[in-house]
Symmetry: D2
Subunit: 307 residues, 4 copies
């Protein structure tokens, strides 16, 4: 995917981002390859040779697998050459180390499609964060197997797709989702409490670009009604888990988790209510990390570079 | 204020509450008086004599001041007499101990007026929580010294009041706020990042029923631009404080506070963004506690009974 | 167990406790029975009739089981009669409601025996907290299947028992533990990373008075090497769980839990190190709650009244 | 300070460290200079040219001051040349960018002197962490203006210095501290609740290598009895702050902070008790960061690279 091509920055929903200046000024370089000495040197030399200034850099060597991961933010405002020149010059570095690499203009937002069912709190929270400028993304659509909820405050420019579902129509409904993803050119599909299990086919189609929020602290309480499971076991904390969707339900690579203390007096209904706050917070964090190229799938796990 | 009068429960914005059954079944008794032996006994005996069942009870003896505070939830579903009979019978208990007391039907929601300025995140969060059923309140209106923000998703039944403000028109504007409070019969006024300093008169008029959110961990960084103050000092955490409004700016009794870790790499803009999440969480917590009669002013401090 | 008998307060290891005055002044009343109207009234009336003043009170009605739980702190400094008189008068209340009840002098410390294996951090932390006055307990002994660690700083008055263990000698070793418990009159046995599985017999013998710390956030990662399990799964938080010991390994009623964020760069060794801090914090919290009569077993769960 | 000279690794108090292999294998490079393009490239090229492998790297560009900070961990196990050769080769890089730089063998522990007064909890916690291997340091001594506390469990190899203090003997006592620092070659002096105000002279002498723990969340509640101040103000959280000591009391650059929720029912004594846990945790975190070369003074602030 060539994201370097100089497109005008797509408008965010709301307020300005924390960092950076105009379009094209800041780029994110992400790299993944087998670890060996000299990678950081080669990458940083290539950047310096084009007059870019590294403003943020993180790396990780996975000793268990021998893989190397890197994320670098580069300021090209005072660069001698163009970003295209940098891109061409990076190609030889990438080839030398057999890198899986990408260069992205920070001002070009990722395109996001949200899937939801009857519980709307995660959707509403994503909309809120998009509005206030917390999530720099292009919201390309919202799809639900239920009818449009009232009072979303969603602009008319964002289409809402009602994709009802019965046991018989599942294949057609999934085909419709697939079409939506393709037509909207979505970079990310967010399952914001979308309570349908994806088929293996659809899960594979969305591999690496679909984030789900599960309402328990995995691996505890997989499956249905996790808050009721938590109540029955008598745990003293509940949590939520954002993970990449894979064909194995609730077993995908974990991106982010969080928890809160509860007490004996919290009935299942209270857990559901408290859980809403955790779910939306955890999902938003994972989505934000993804939008900023901080998340790397790493086998059954993830590498997530903190802000 | 006699809240016992059997009114039909006003409709909430969204989903059902955690607890309780139909209107009138659960009542909250709140008590404040000088401490001495026998109070708990007298209160619980009065409840038992009417066939009420105590489902939740909390108390606090302030050793520094000798004041006693109590909150009791009573289930009257199987009560022999009416709630009115209970209320009459409680009058003698209240008189005996010179109590400041109140009995409130949990299903009768408090009436809330929200004041806001250009930063809308706290307002949007209150609307979200009201929608999903997190805050059981009657939203009687929203007022701002700015124009109505787009995409609030607020139902037409909730009026929006634009009350612009100049140095010259402050008295008239404050008079308009006061009228709004009176006409809407608001039990609570929430300053959801309302960036105007109230006059002493208005602060006094709203005493004990007006909650402000200050965007710092008080008593650190009072006054303007607290996130910039925090950045300049180089603190490693930022926070927010919900407090009752008094004539002394940023000195009112604190209801709730929370914080988050930050790092050297967070510029003021990042602190503002991270702070939004803390502010809305802290404000919602304080409002929720107030709506459930868990907050008691106690001189320059508060007593807040946890859920 | 009659704890009311006026014993002189046993000396704590270190500094003074937060509350209360001399021996006998503060008592804790704990009650458990089937729920029905009038319990709080009867208990508080009995206290008031003897001139006691309730300084702290908490209760819980378990709607799922119909059980009622209560903990009351009573100040008897200005009481008319003796604590013995109160105790006699309480007997009829207890009988009326078929209560499981207890009255304990707060100044009479519980007797605690600690079992440990090669990981000493929880033991060292308990000793630290006992020293600085955080845990008001009588430390009656420490037993280990390993030799005494160096530099414990434990006073000579606390005996250390080396109880080595082989597959063949397990019955004898468990018999020795049982004797220790009986002879030391221990009210509580703490498994402070004691890495041996108790026999069903010993677990039953210690039922309700033996707290274990498991180094995972249960129900996730039961069994051996939980930090390695957590690493392999790629979770983003690790935790610890303090629970009552039952014959079902890692399935006992949970008393307290806590967690911390980790990242992809934390190898199992780092998880072990970070986990130490969580384990000792969680265990100390559970022990402290138990020492203050805040923990009630409730079937497979617990009721824990917060401080 | 030339720490590269190949000294045998000084023995730690306890268990093995998380990472790294034998002495000399892992080195930490720390760099500070004015920001300009090419720094990362030059540093990483120098490392690669000697056959070192970067295993961890963090950097920060302070936009407000134009300063650049970097910390790199290098594995030299498979290096072609010696660490000395690397050091010589780094000299030209350092000169080119006018760097303040250092290369340290991770297996050579820093030397730490602890100062304490009558509150021993922070000292006991540091000893605990040193014992279990949490803090990789050489404990070169403990000094106090009080007599040696009982049951420290400190090995005989660590000297305890009783340096009593009166108003008249302050200059002599401070001279004794200064001598201790010099003779013990301490890299770090920890004020573990040392309740004496240092003279400006001594503060200057210890600049950049002396960490104090203040028992409040600065800038709130400077000065004496912060927990009592917090109680009087009615805040809902208390905290602690670890900072570099400067001549300005409680105004030094902050290294780490943390807080905990409290409630209206916490009397000052309870705040003191809860505060102990926060203080020791915050101090240990700051000390650990310092020991691992993660802390850089940056004017009145600090840069602290997270683990």
């Amino acid at each position: 995917m060539d994201l370097v091509a100089v497109e005008p920055a797509r408008a965010a929903g709301g307020m300005a981002r924390d960092r950076g200046a105009g379009p094209g000024s800041t780029h994110v370089v992400t790299v993944q390859c087998d670890d060996r000495p000299g990678i950081v040197s080669a990458v940083s030399q290539c950047i310096a040779s084009q007059g870019g200034n590294i403003t943020e850099a993180q790396q990780f060597n996975d000793h268990a697998t021998g893989r190397f991961f890197m994320r670098v933010e580069v300021d090209f405002r005072n660069a001698r050459g163009s970003v295209d020149a940098f891109r061409r010059s990076f190609e030889s570095v990438g080839a030398e180390f057999s890198m899986d690499w990408r260069i992205r203009d920070r001002s070009v937002h990722k395109r996001v499609l949200v899937l939801v069912s009857q519980h709307e709190h995660c959707l509403r929270d994503l909309l809120y964060r998009w509005r206030v400028g917390d999530l720099s993304m292009d919201l390309v659509g919202v799809a639900s197997n239920h009818v449009r909820p009232a009072g979303l405050g969603m602009p008319d420019s964002v289409p809402f797709h009602h994709l009802p579902l019965t046991r018989e129509t599942r294949p057609q409904q999934e085909a419709a989702i697939r079409r939506l993803v393709e037509e909207s050119k979505a970079d990310l599909v967010v399952l914001a409490r979308y309570m349908q299990i994806l088929s293996d086919d659809l899960a594979r189609f969305l591999a690496g670009r679909c984030i789900n929020i599960h309402h328990s602290f995995l691996p505890g309480f997989k499956g249905a009604k996790p808050y009721h499971q938590a109540y029955d076991r008598g745990v003293k904390m509940i949590g939520a888990t954002a993970h990449f969707v894979t064909a194995d339900l609730d077993e995908g690579p974990i991106i982010h988790q969080d928890v809160e203390h509860i007490s004996h007096s919290d009935r299942p209904e209270a857990l559901v209510r408290k859980g809403r706050d955790i779910e939306r917070r955890v999902l938003a964090h994972a989505v934000r990390s993804f939008l900023e190229d901080r998340v790397f799938p790493n086998g059954g796990k993830t590498v997530v570079f903190a802000e």
